[in-house]
Symmetry: C2
Subunit: 481 residues, 2 copies
């Protein structure tokens, strides 16, 4: 695969404009809603999101999680219970203060995340070790008053996520669960063909109220990484604040150990678009494409009826297989216009059915990635389409993986660090773990320490990139959304 | 079927207590969340809701609707655009006034319904007749500051619904769509075995901003009807307020005609529980039961292993059929305790597998409605289970239908009207259509005019129940949630 070739894509040159055009033209999202940071998910975008959530929720179900639905409104006193949590989120929550023309006795806030909505209930539900582990998830919208510039899908004031919350008997069980969830997220992201770093965040950047945080940072064409998921070990921080205890087998009462995690569906969709798509528009992994195959009849007046009839026959056959297929019979567009249209929407496979195809009982297949044409016999169509799904997936997965590899560049000193970040890449550096050097890194490059690898051990082989003292960690530096 | 027998059920004697117990014990909803009118949907309840929504959304998809997702926050100026609408909802909306410690420049409210979130976008999306009809739906939570006593599922400040919104070319097309949607809701409610009246609401009770409103009023054991769905023709009221126009074929610019409709998922779940369940707990239509079949091994120590192995074989066979089946192998409960447990959760079919069943390669089936035992051969199990699903459904559907018939009583004068409502029934009366008589009806009986039949014509054969003047409509009077 030609990595150089990719560099000529518009997304690497003017990401912002390219991305906004795709959102609009592929009907992912309409950003003209009259409240800043709030947008309308249009049908195509919403359907992709539902498919992503289906994959995730199925994995969560299989691993013993149960769905529930908690209120969007959290009372002020519950929100204030865990000191670090309110410190971290207090400045960015939306407050409900009135109803009708009455002032509320107790202010409510819109959940920025649901610890303080869920854990008062955990206190009621958990009595003994037999109630553990408790593993709950919900797919909902959350609300954060972002003061930085908002950007559709990446940074919105209302966004979609799936959040998991658990309570465990002891630290070891919680630790094991953190690893399991990292594996679940990794599995789902991989099925979407995404590439990312799995990083343990530095202490100064962990989730407000957590003992530590793991995060998935996806690469983005403009070099700013996109955090698509996080997993936190909360220790007993919230358990102490909310008095969540259980009676152990020996009759003693103990605090539960908790974990929580967020799968940023809006940001995952942003990553799919940003990593896979091209100048023609969206490219979607076949598993989440609302339409997987589009059939376009190539019609000449004299044989229109026969070709249309054959196209319908092809349509019925593909549909019977449970493949999401659409037959585009619209009469206001030429076949060429239809090609462009469905390429913009990222439909993985196009089937062209023309007079010759009909005459020979063949169909012509075109994949969305390379736009390569091939003709197969009618009876081989299903196999060929399924193989093409695999090929499309392998192509986008590989292309994304190679790009991430190309994005990561070792920095050997302050100057090279600055160059790498300016060049919209991700810098790998050795760091002494001091706050002072972390701050210097930001000053010099504008990037931040995103953390060290969780999925593999990397031993620092050089001194700290800033102070030259002994380094403790190999960390990744990037600008971030 | 013995209608008298039903009367001895607790739900007819003390509905409130019975209902709250089921919600808690069958893990539908936990009402102890620390904000009034907000509650937690627990796993069993949430799963039933998802099944109900699946049925509805599939019907909406089939009839040319598309899903989208609009923001929860509506800016004050959009909300105020349609005069009747703000008059109707203004006193019951939640206001977001602050974010962090800043006061917002423009107040936001939580959607009580989404006309004023959606229609500013309709203005942007609709240009010509080719953009019509536009038919959109979303399944979301909505927010109304109910000042009357809240009641779980029936009247909450946060509740779940699916709302549809359309724009049409002309009144006739909108009228036809209203009829189609009434048909869709009717279809879905019927598949849930529910019984209800389809009523055109009197003008003084129509949706704020509508030309007229159709509503589905389900019967409830305490005599207070439960509005589970509504369909409104909005005419051009909102189109004028939001300037939603299209260019017609002749080049003229016209206002669209709109309809909107709400399917109250929380209330539909309330109706399923209230109409179908009994003293033992929940009874669920098999189509929406999270678990459709529970297998309970009847174990005696000496043959435990063989019976468990056979139960697993039965489980695998049923699972292969795509039936949602659970094998209850827990060791902390006796078979009898397991019976009670799963009866509370409303699992439609119980399979008992004991030593004799194993020896004869049979299974014992028990339906949740009549708790009648029958034994079938292993190879006939799937057919027998499917037949039993049909039987359970027919039984609850019929029981509910007969109860509704029994609930409706003709009132011939003020005294009998009062008696009927006091007796927790629904009164059918003739009415002159005057506001004065409508008010008297409420004063006398405590019930309200819910409207006249939409699905059939009923000609008044007597004079107005209040004033004795010529009656114009046959209307139904009941107390309501």
């Amino acid at each position: 695969m030609m990595v150089m070739e990719k560099r000529s894509l518009r997304k690497f040159e003017n990401f912002s404009e390219w991305f906004d055009e795709i959102l609009f033209n592929a009907e992912i999202l309409d950003n003209r809603y009259p409240v800043k940071g709030f947008a309308v998910y249009k049908t195509w975008g919403f359907k992709i999101i539902k498919k992503i959530l289906e994959i995730l929720e199925q994995k969560l179900d299989e691993t013993g999680h149960v769905p529930m639905l908690f209120p969007v409104a959290i009372p002020e006193d519950m929100f204030a219970k865990e000191a670090e949590h309110i410190k971290g989120f207090g400045s960015e929550v939306f407050w409900i203060t009135h109803a009708g023309d009455r002032e509320l006795d107790k202010k409510l806030l819109l959940r920025p995340t649901s610890e303080t909505a869920m854990y008062p209930m955990f206190t009621l539900w958990i009595r003994s070790h037999a109630d553990l582990p408790l593993k709950i998830y919900q797919s909902v919208t959350i609300y954060r008053y972002e003061t930085k510039a908002t950007r559709p899908l990446f940074r919105m004031r209302e966004f979609l996520w799936n959040e998991g919350h658990t309570a465990h008997r002891g630290w070891d069980e919680a630790e094991e669960h953190v690893r399991e969830v990292v594996g679940i997220y990794d599995h789902v992201f991989k099925r979407l063909g995404l590439s990312y770093l799995i990083l343990r965040r530095p202490d100064f950047d962990k989730f407000a109220g957590a003992v530590y945080s793991i995060a998935f940072d996806a690469w983005n064409p403009d070099g700013r990484v996109n955090q698509i998921g996080t997993v936190h070990n909360l220790g007993d921080n919230f358990a102490r604040a909310f008095e969540i205890t259980y009676e152990d087998v020996d009759g003693s009462h103990k605090y539960v150990i908790q974990t929580c995690y967020g799968f940023g569906v809006s940001r995952v969709l942003a990553a799919i678009i940003a990593q896979h798509s091209d100048d023609r528009g969206l490219i979607l992994p076949p598993e989440v494409a609302p339409i997987q195959v589009v059939i376009i009849p190539i019609i000449y007046r004299e044989v229109a009826e026969e070709v249309n009839a054959y196209a319908k026959e092809v349509y019925e056959m593909i549909k019977r297989e449970g493949i999401r297929v659409h037959l585009d019979e619209s009469e206001d567009k030429t076949p060429g216009e239809k090609f462009y249209y469905w390429e913009m929407f990222g439909v993985p496979v196009r089937v062209e059915v023309g007079p010759l195809d009909r005459a020979e009982r063949k169909i012509t297949l075109v994949d969305r990635v390379n736009l390569r044409r091939r003709t197969v016999k009618f009876e081989d169509a299903i196999n060929a389409i399924k193989n093409l799904f695999d090929e499309v997936f392998r192509n986008i997965e590989e292309r994304s993986r190679l790009t991430l590899e190309e994005f990561i560049v070792d920095a050997h000193g302050a100057q090279s660090l600055d160059d790498i970040i300016k060049n919209r890449k991700i810098a790998r550096v050795c760091w002494c773990e001091s706050i002072e050097c972390a701050e210097k890194i930001r000053e010099i490059s504008g990037g931040e320490i995103r953390g060290y690898r969780f999925d593999r051990e990397e031993k620092p082989e050089r001194a700290c990139v800033i102070c030259g003292q002994a380094a403790k960690k190999v960390v990744y530096i990037a600008r971030a959304y």
